[in-house]
Symmetry: C2
Subunit: 479 residues, 2 copies
């Protein structure tokens, strides 16, 4: 299936509607398309061609939106780099994805590796070109890295069809009204943020943008009704609730719902939100499913506490090996929102087996078909909304000459939800501070373990697979 170029089509259909609002400024869909087209011409002025793969390293805010849309208009595949990564992590993703250029803000210039041509836009000359009128559903729009279980981050391809079916199914589930404004405080290089931009283009909906999450501003806008929907993780949600309660404010009647991802929302939060007039829609999704794959309706939030709801309209979910409701197993996902595959070193690993994505997450479906996610990728740590994969940290730890074995698990943290804790078997005595410094050189700050435990051996199962759940349990007991 082909769709018209989303950016140009939207600018043609509703040119005067507000696309992006940020601080005191706003841009209509026509203005956004014009700004993005200017950038696209400068991008093409560097000699790059349609179909090239380029990386974006950005700080967030409206300029990032224009840069992303510029890249899409230029016809590129966009490798979305997380600006919180270290130079070494960025270098891996740029090299693995074979991106031929990196476009970046001046403020991030020193982070981009020397080995890749780095283009800052303003110095480029512009090339006049005609952007594609149609986008094929199989066209890769974005590539986002996710770590998986191997320790080597995998570049996930997200096609136009992936993003489109995700946006459509989301609208069928959450509804869509004239005047909807989605508050985006999520990073735009994440699927949680990027999917808001897709929906904006496809629905003709305004995005209220925060360069980074601002709990005060979010609470104020919810109370004023200047936004109608918001995406948040639990840790952000609770900060917004605290502020509203503290100021004795409620959500304005125009505000409808918070789409809450990144793990189940505790039921006390849901009750507090309801008391403030806020519906909480809990959702389960991942980079490989271009955002939501299942979402729990607000009306079921308390009846089905801990559930991520039912699949969205196009999607199917099953539990591997389950024979009856309640049986636990790996969560398998099928639908047009599932990535067709990876790039780089994992380009030969199939993303789907017989049409099903094997998520690595463990879950169950109850007798009404509601999904409960019991363990994300067995071991995924979600810390302040960022995904942290233990295997990646373990890989760094065992790179230290004095470390024999390492296991990492997420442990609860008041501020971040969860943080990584390291369990290490050493060859000779070593200080936790030294390990921490070692990690800090090689990992983004949020991935650096907060706790270090020195142990005799790591818990493993019969087939020698590390049992990270037991690490977690041991940590809790010890505390």
């Amino acid at each position: 299936m082909m769709t018209p170029n989303w950016i140009l089509q939207r600018a043609s259909l509703t040119p005067d509607r507000i696309a992006i609002s940020w601080e005191e400024q706003q841009w209509t869909f026509r203005e956004m398309a014009e700004r993005s087209m200017d950038i696209a011409k400068k991008m093409r002025g560097t000699g790059l061609q349609e179909g090239n793969r380029v990386a974006l390293l950005t700080t967030g805010g409206p300029e990032t939106v224009f840069l992303i849309h510029g890249g899409l208009l230029a016809g590129f595949e966009l490798v979305m780099l997380n600006s919180r990564l270290t130079a070494a992590e960025l270098a891996y993703q740029i090299e693995d994805s074979e991106a031929v250029a990196v476009f970046t803000d001046d403020s991030l210039l020193d982070r981009a590796p020397d080995s890749t041509p780095v283009s800052r836009l303003l110095c480029g000359k512009a090339e006049d070109f005609k952007p594609a009128e149609l986008w094929h559903e199989d066209r890769t729009l974005t590539i986002m890295y996710t770590s998986g279980t191997t320790g080597f981050p995998k570049g996930v391809r997200q096609t136009a069809g992936n993003h489109l079916s995700s946006a459509a199914a989301s609208a069928f589930n959450m509804g869509l009204q004239d005047g909807d404004v989605w508050l985006c405080a999520m990073p735009l290089f994440h699927i949680s943020g990027f999917s808001i931009l897709s929906r904006s283009l496809i629905y003709g909906m305004t995005v209220r943008l925060q360069s980074k999450f601002d709990a005060e501003a979010s609470a104020r806008e919810i109370a004023e009704g200047s936004v109608t929907t918001m995406s948040a993780v639990s840790a952000q949600l609770v900060r917004v609730l605290d502020i509203l309660e503290g100021r004795k404010l409620r959500a304005d009647g125009r505000f409808r719902q918070i789409l809450a991802g990144g793990g189940p929302v505790p039921s006390p939060y849901i009750r507090r939100a309801e008391a403030l007039g806020i519906q909480i829609l809990q959702t389960y999704g991942m980079t490989e499913t271009s955002s939501q794959t299942a979402t729990l309706a607000a009306e079921d939030a308390l009846r089905k506490t801990g559930s991520s709801g039912k699949p969205l309209f196009f999607n199917r979910i099953r539990i591997e090996g389950a024979e009856k409701p309640g049986d636990e197993g790996e969560i398998l996902i099928s639908g047009p929102h599932v990535t067709p595959g990876y790039v780089g070193r994992f380009s030969d690993s199939p993303a789907q087996v017989d049409g099903w994505l094997h998520t690595g997450d463990i879950g169950k479906l109850d007798d009404e078909g509601f999904l409960y996610v019991l363990d994300r990728r067995s071991d995924l740590i979600i810390s302040g909304g960022e995904n942290i994969y233990p295997a990646e940290i373990e890989q760094v730890l065992v790179g230290h000459p004095d470390v024999a074995e390492a296991g990492v698990a997420g442990v609860e943290d008041k501020h971040w939800g969860h943080v990584p804790a390291a369990f290490v078997v050493v060859r000779k005595a070593i200080a936790a501070e030294e390990l921490e410094a070692f990690c800090r050189e090689r990992l983004a700050p949020y991935k650096v373990p907060k706790y270090y435990r020195f142990v005799e051996e790591l818990p493993r199962n019969a087939s020698n697979k590390l049992l990270r759940r037991e690490l977690r349990a041991a940590f809790e007991i010890e505390k």
Copy 2:
């Protein structure tokens, strides 16, 4: 792209939501799926297989919905017969489509031709089978006949992808809210009615069904707010407005909009509707585009009187040969909602040329991209919401031994909007009553010309093409 079987998926996602409400009865999505599955088993019990093409001849109402969904679950391609057609017209469509069976209500049994196996459902034995879990977007769900300009009706294939992209684009344009109820007073064998059933399954939306259009009931439900959206043609719309005004009623705040098809809505109607709190969304579509292709936003209804608005999100419209805004020409349409082609005698005629459907309609785009339809298929007559193709009636008239030539054009009618008028060149004198009786035997009642004019010659252009516009003009002058 594959989608989950819409009927089963919807029953699984929102089993307890109301799918169909009719008179005092209602059915949830689960109940509807169960009823439809029972019918599907009886259909398969006749020996028919998945992929067979069968025709449905029905009277409307909930049983028709279950029959349609039963046919879809059974895996058939459904030829949707218009129950207002004569036995001869039905026979043509059944034969041309090569339908292997006709499923019908008892009340219509005498209308089905003898030559085709006719199955009444209640006498059949049931066969247990497992319906397809997935529907491919290329699967033909429905075949609807449209007459085109040749006099031979053409069977238009409408795929799952056609209906799906139409429903999605409609939601992006019209919005979608919890508690939406779409009032369906359109025949279910027409795309105007069937598309409401598709949207219901895809959105999880309730349909309030009328077996046939009931202006009194429609006005009452709009005033009570028991429905939120309605599809109507101008002739229906004005009757609803008359009743509301006569009773000094207004639309309830929950009622949002009337989607008005079948030709432009005169601006006085739009003003009257606005005064009653009703938004009018004027739309342009056809059987070949599985419902709407362009829709005029309510906010532009008066500013752009006479326009059908802008394309829906997935669609593109251009005017053949137009070099600048305002140039008139044939309307060409492109998008995933456009039929891949015809069945039967037209199966070799391409529906699209280089991805564009040539509608035969004449129109223009203004400088903001709003579509104005100037002439539908040059000559299409829309009478009480039914499409009437002059060529089909002319074909019948020239079949009379005393008729040498015939031309048919639509003329204004207070009750029906337009009715066909016949212009005939005869070989020897003949009474209008005889011609009318001749037509009545061969055409559905609504297609029988209301006026007969005997003329010396028909207006034709240089290439001898009949100029039906001049017939129309002559009739108006003569009146």
